[in-house]
Amino acid sequence: MSSDANLPIKKPEGEIKLETHDLSLYYDGFHALKNISVYIPARRITALIGPSGCGKSSFLRCFNRMNDLIQSARVTGEVLIDGANVYDRTTDVAALRKRVGMVFQTPNPFPMSIYDNVAYGPRLHGIRERSALDEVVEKSLRGAALWDEVKDTLRKSALDLSGGQQQRLSIARVLAVEPEVLLMDEPCSALDPTATFKIEELMIELMENYTIVIVTHNMYQASRVSQYTGFFLLGDLIEYGDTVQIFENPKDQRTDDYVRGRFG
């Protein structure tokens, strides 16, 4: 079992949606991501695991350039979506974030009605017609497995929903702008087991149409829902591969120690 040099990253079979080549991220002088090269397959769930501060959330934020919002952040290398570099000067960042939606750790509904929360994005992108908005709200809430629970209370405040419902509303809000990729940064860490189960079920349904990348501290969640897993440690991508292989027979001693709970 290796434990020093990082293992070569094998390209998964099938269509590749996202890839990075020699990606490094610096916060001022701190080298937060070190020369990451990886291929993320389309319409699959890829889980990123690793101890706190290992760089997995920073890595996730490279795909929709959320790191641009941090002044001290500097990126080198390539981040590609469908083969096009998202850090290219000509990239329309607003359009990129429409294609690559993000769900955060804590549900963050706007202080408005359930309906308006979901309609917010489409309105921002110019949809004004009532029937079109109704349609997109219903479709998105159905897609997020929330419609049946809220269809009679769409005008109620989103803040009245439970934590699990609010998180599914956050997902509905992302789906409303019809993205291609869903980035999920610990989407269940504030949820109870039942709500977590619903989100995991939802992720597996969404996988049919979306490429999902999830950061999770919960290894069992990673093993339950994902097909590919990457293990980060101190800014390095130590090992990346088939989820079954990572959890049953990791190749790197550091991955083995982490998944067995020997550190972290």
Partner: protein, 241 residues
């Protein structure tokens, strides 16, 4: 975190200890069954049969331990492979116990029968499979792939003895119909021993999996065709048993 991990590692060590105890217990059942057969010792045969309840109890207890660890610790990687291996191995060890009982029953059936020839190949087979079992368990404890290889090699020797004995016993039955009853019993005993060796090979394969993470058949000779009966008879020489 460190304390819970340490407790888990102690539970894993205890699990392996219990498996080793079960393996040693079943190995002694096999040895006693073989001795009971060779020495016409009915008491030893009865002791072997009675011991099976204890082996079954050990099997259940270890399985329970595995289920508890799976449920409470949700093991991954090497830990998961270890527990999966133990669960699979106890089934093979338990079957070795059952075959020992079958041999002990044959010993009781043949207790009043004088063998038409002193038994030679059967005690040899008992000795080989007993050693194989011990080595497989040692391989498990020591994570020793070299021992795994040796166990698998020995299976070929057991297979050769089985084919040889089968040919000889068939020939003897044709030539001396009056000994058919004991020859059939001995033929079955030889078959049981050959099957015991196969179960031990399964154990060795699981040990390899535990260590390498690769699930594979390491003893392809299992799949090979048995020699034709004519071949077995051709080089059989005088009947041994």
């Amino acid at each position: 975190m460190r304390r819970t991990r340490q407790a888990f590692e102690e539970q894993l060590e205890q699990l392996e200890r219990h498996l080793l105890e079960m393996g040693t217990f079943v190995e002694s059942m096999l040895e006693k069954a073989g001795r009971a057969l060779c020495q016409h010792d009915v008491n030893l045969a009865r002791e072997t049969i009675a011991a099976d309840d204890t082996a079954d109890q050990m099997d259940l207890q270890i399985e329970q331990e595995c289920m508890r660890l799976l449920a409470l610790q949700q093991p991954m990687s090497r830990d998961l492979r270890t527990i999966g291996t133990v669960m699979k191995v106890i089934a093979d060890v338990e079957r070795v116990g059952d075959y020992s009982v079958d041999i002990a029953r044959a010993a009781i059936d043949l207790a009043e029968t004088e063998y038409y020839k002193p038994l030679e190949d059967i005690p040899r087979m008992v000795e080989i499979v007993r050693r194989m079992l011990r080595q497989a368990l040692e391989a498990l404890v020591a994570r020793d792939l070299e021992l795994v290889r040796q166990v698998i090699e020995k299976d070929d020797e057991v297979d050769r003895l089985w084919y040889k004995l089968r040919g000889q016993l068939e020939q003897t039955m044709r030539e001396r119909p009056e000994i058919v009853q004991q020859a059939v019993a001995l033929l079955l005993v030889a078959r049981y021993l050959e099957r015991v060796a196969d179960h031990v090979v399964n154990i060795a394969e699981r040990v390899a999996y535990m260590e390498t993470g690769r699930l594979e058949v390491l003893a392809p000779s299992h799949l090979a065709e048995a020699p034709s009966r004519a071949d077995a008879e051709g080089d059989s020489g005088p009947a041994q048993e």
